[in-house]
């Protein structure tokens, strides 16, 4: 029996198992790319519109978020499109690949399914190879759909080569991180830590590309995530990043196979150590149980968000110094005006970052709330329910830490930006003041709490559709993050709580909106809690 025996059958099985999630990802990603491309000529069709956005895209703040791209000669609609969309689409595609790759390998192993499969006449590397093929096919299909969609949209300035370069380039980037996920699944000994490791590396690539983009764009070649920026599909098509990504992906797959052949099934390179034979005095109820199980995750999230903020803060001195891009300004307007302008730029940059931070900080909170239902279906709560522990107590043992984690993560993240950012400035007065910082906190917390409230509502009343929370958060993030660049109509932004508050600290907090959003969050939690007390629990 060859080491890859029956890989084909396992590939078919993988597609049957994951058909809904694959279908959902492909539809959302392909539709996003095609619809934006389709609308793009209306948004940035004329030379004056292009000239205006070109200036915005060259500003360091936007470079930090969307990547550094070089423009040559007459800039076309298609080039603006590539600049705004490439990195953004790559990020979503990486998230998809990490989810699919860990799910298809370590996730199956955790459930004991791999053990069952491997007991049949199936090659030792066949499950891994099947997961790899699954990723190749999904990314390939997406790449083709992107290229076809872009060709159909036919933006001014687009070329056939550029369209295919975008499709294949994004597919290659996706594959690279997907195979990174496969490798991490072999190194870690369960899916949560595999995901954690993969996201850590992904985060490092992202921060590396951001810092290099703002300061020395040539160094961005050192970050795999930065390669996607180097495609320059419509002005100077470069296939090098594609070959680099594919070669790296192959190396990662080779390493994954090596790791797979050296380890025992169910174990990883990082092994589980024996622990205490007695519980500590601290571990005594559902709340401390959640902390004991999730403390690493909670601490890691808060730290990661703070580090993320600090990394963003390091680019303040480049962004908040207009004289670097416009040296004659001081002679014309005087020092006071320049400082005023610097402050405005930083406020606007911080407002955009606050949106990102709020979305990122909401993720661990939603995860904890949804965990209440995941733990329920896994049977882990059956033993707790059989004790004199009320449902209310159990429910709030998840909900409370969730709200606290998201709140702390957001404050930490924004704090990291502001503290590091202000420290990096030559002229501290240009930076974000304490008052503006707290405005920034008050501006986004209601939104975070409403999103968490929706998760609570769904887990309490309709747990089957809990995944909807992620879609809703993603919609909220995209509509605000990309909203102004894509000139989305206001109603799109207002569909989710992310758009209900004005941009803060650029604008002042609207305390009426603040109050009723908090009220709404409280109502959502109460309704969810009532539902949770009434419904049947789901057991295996």
């Amino acid at each position: 029996m060859s080491r890859y025996g029956r890989t084909g059958q396992l590939i078919r099985l993988a597609f049957r198992r994951d058909r809904f999630r694959i279908l959902m990802w492909i539809i959302i990603l392909a539709a996003l790319m095609a619809s934006v491309a389709w609308k793009f000529e209306d948004i940035y069709g004329t030379q004056s519109e292009i000239a205006a956005i070109k200036g915005t895209l060259a500003s360091p703040g936007i470079v930090a978020m969307f990547g550094a791209f070089s423009f040559k000669g007459k800039v076309t609609t298609a080039e603006i499109f590539a600049n705004e969309m490439l990195l953004f689409m790559a990020l979503i595609q990486v998230v998809m690949n990490l989810a699919l790759s860990v799910h298809a390998t370590r996730g199956e192993e955790d459930l004991g399914i791999t053990e069952l499969v491997r007991s049949h006449a199936v090659g030792t590397d066949a499950p891994l190879a099947a997961a790899a093929w699954e990723l190749v096919i999904v990314n390939g299909l997406l790449g083709i759909l992107y290229s076809v969609g872009l060709t159909a949209a036919n933006m001014p300035g687009a070329s056939l080569e550029g369209n295919w370069l975008i499709g294949i380039g994004l597919a290659a980037t996706g594959l690279l991180f997907g195979f990174l996920g496969l490798l991490m699944a072999q190194i870690a000994d369960h899916s949560a830590s595999a995901t954690g490791l993969a996201y850590t590396l992904f985060g490092i690539s992202y921060l590396a590309r951001m810092i290099t983009d703002v300061q020395h764009p040539r160094l961005t070649w050192w970050s795999p995530l930065g390669w996607v920026e180097k495609l320059a599909p419509y002005n100077d098509a470069n296939w090098m990043p594609v070959w680099l990504s594919l070669a790296t992906a192959l190396i990662l797959f080779g390493l994954a196979v090596m790791a797979n052949n050296r380890r025992d099934l169910g174990a990883g390179a990082l092994t589980t150590r024996p622990g205490k034979s007695r519980a500590s005095a601290f571990l005594r109820g559902p709340l401390s149980l959640l902390w004991r199980r999730q403390r690493n995750v909670i601490i890691a999230w808060i730290l990661a968000v703070i580090i993320f903020g600090i990394a963003y803060g390091t680019v303040f001195n480049t962004i908040g110094d207009i004289l670097k891009t416009n040296p004659t300004m001081q002679q014309v307007f005087g020092a006071a005006m320049v400082h005023e302008a610097n402050h405005k730029v930083l406020l606007s940059f911080t407002s955009l970052l606050a949106v990102v931070m709020a979305a990122v900080a909401t993720i661990p909170g939603i995860q904890l709330i949804l965990k209440a239902h995941t733990d329920e279906t896994r049977g882990w709560l059956e033993a707790v329910y059989a004790r004199p522990v009320s449902r209310t107590r159990l429910f709030f043992s998840y909900v409370g830490p969730a709200f606290l984690t998201s709140t702390l993560a957001y404050i930490g993240g924004l704090g990291g930006i502001v503290v590091m950012g202000d420290a990096s400035l030559d002229h501290v007065k240009d930076g974000i003041s304490a008052h503006e910082f707290w405005q920034g906190i008050a501006g986004q917390l209601p939104e975070i709490w409403v999103f968490l409230g929706i998760a609570v509502l769904l887990v309490g009343c309709w747990p089957r559709i809990k995944t909807f929370t992620w879609l809703y958060l993603a919609l909220g993030f995209v509509s605000v993050y990309m909203g102004s660049l894509l000139k989305l109509p206001d109603w799109v932004k207002n569909v989710t709580p992310a758009g209900w508050m004005p941009r803060i600290p650029q604008h002042a907090v609207n305390w009426t909106t603040f109050s009723w959003m908090i009220g709404l969050a409280i109502v959502l939690v109460i309704v969810g809690w009532l539902g949770y007390r009434r419904r049947d629990l789901q057991m295996r």
Partner: protein
């Protein structure tokens, strides 16, 4: 106290959407009694137990433990109740020892000498992470936590399905000890020999209905005794009244047949006139009863 049952279920019903999982469940469990709850997969055993624990809400009928409603007063009831689920799922990144202590603390009790003794008896390594435990070891964790607890009512849902014979015996001894101390036990099991050995009364459930309750002795009267006899002459036993499923044995004049209990005395008298050389009679085992109730009425 002794006269009032610990658990009382009356015409309990549960619907999942259109599917009627429980149609009519009625039985009770008294103090100092081990009640065996048997039935095939999917008959409703675990659903009944989950209603009793207040995990799911009954759609009809009533169920009380210690005289209190299982849904509304679940938290109060659980203070004096211990439960071991059929499939034990444990938090993968905690050790077995930590989980045992945690479960005890959630009942307001603590790790005691008894806990240590149980860990030793069951042969559990409490320092291992739950992720690495086999099914049997996961069950041991739940069993140790349940037996170290000083409850008045114990519910076991197929607790020994992953245990080896040695641990199965430890379990049985621990249950008999509970019984002697006047505790009430509800034991749902597939291992009929275990139920037969330990249970005072038995309830048989089929398709969401309790079809029989009573002691094993009472139930035996409802069925037939198997008789194997070797006679000294050519007597044809098929002529006897109340005899069923007659087959010829391996030797000449050897017969096997089933007798209705009501006819046993007359048949023995008749057989005695035909030079009985060997006679074996076996009362129906619980397995026979089980088959009797499930494979139709034969």
């Amino acid at each position: 106290m002794a006269t009032q049952p610990i658990l009382q279920i009356h015409q309990l019903q549960k619907k999942f959407g259109r599917f009627q999982a429980l149609k009519d469940i009625t039985f009770s469990v008294n103090a100092g009694e081990v009640f065996g709850f048997i039935g095939p997969n999917g008959a409703g055993k675990s659903t009944t137990i989950r209603v009793l624990l207040g995990l799911i809400r009954a759609t009809g009928g009533s169920a009380t433990i210690f005289g209190q409603d299982v849904w509304h007063d679940s938290v109060t009831i659980h203070q004096r109740l211990a439960y071991v689920p059929g499939d034990v799922y444990l938090w993968p990144n905690l050790t077995g020892g930590e989980i045992i202590d945690l479960l005890l603390k959630m009942n307001g009790t603590a790790h005691s000498d008894k806990t240590d003794a149980l860990i030793k008896q069951f042969g559990l390594d409490p320092t291992k992470k739950a992720r690495t435990y086999s099914k049997g070891n996961r069950q041991k964790v739940a069993l140790i936590a349940a037996f170290s607890q000083d409850a008045d009512f114990y519910i076991f849902d197929e607790p020994t399905s992953g245990l080896d014979p040695l641990n199965e015996r430890v379990f049985q001894e621990a249950v008999l000890d509970l019984k002697q101390r006047g505790k009430a036990v509800l034991l749902s099991s597939h291992i009929l020999s275990e139920v037969e050995r330990m249970c005072d009364r038995i309830g048989i459930i089929r398709e969401g209905q309790i079809i029989e309750t009573g002691s094993l002795a009472e139930m035996r009267h409802l069925t037939r005794t198997m008789v194997t006899v070797t006679l000294g002459d050519d007597f044809d036993v098929t002529t006897l009244p109340g005899v069923h499923g007659v087959t010829a044995g391996h030797q000449a004049h050897e017969w096997q047949f089933a007798v209705e209990d009501s006819q046993l005395a007359t048949i023995m008298a008749t057989l005695a006139q035909h030079q009985v050389m060997a006679l074996q009679s076996t009362p129906p085992t619980l397995e026979d009863l089980f088959m009797h109730y499930y494979t139709g009425k034969e």
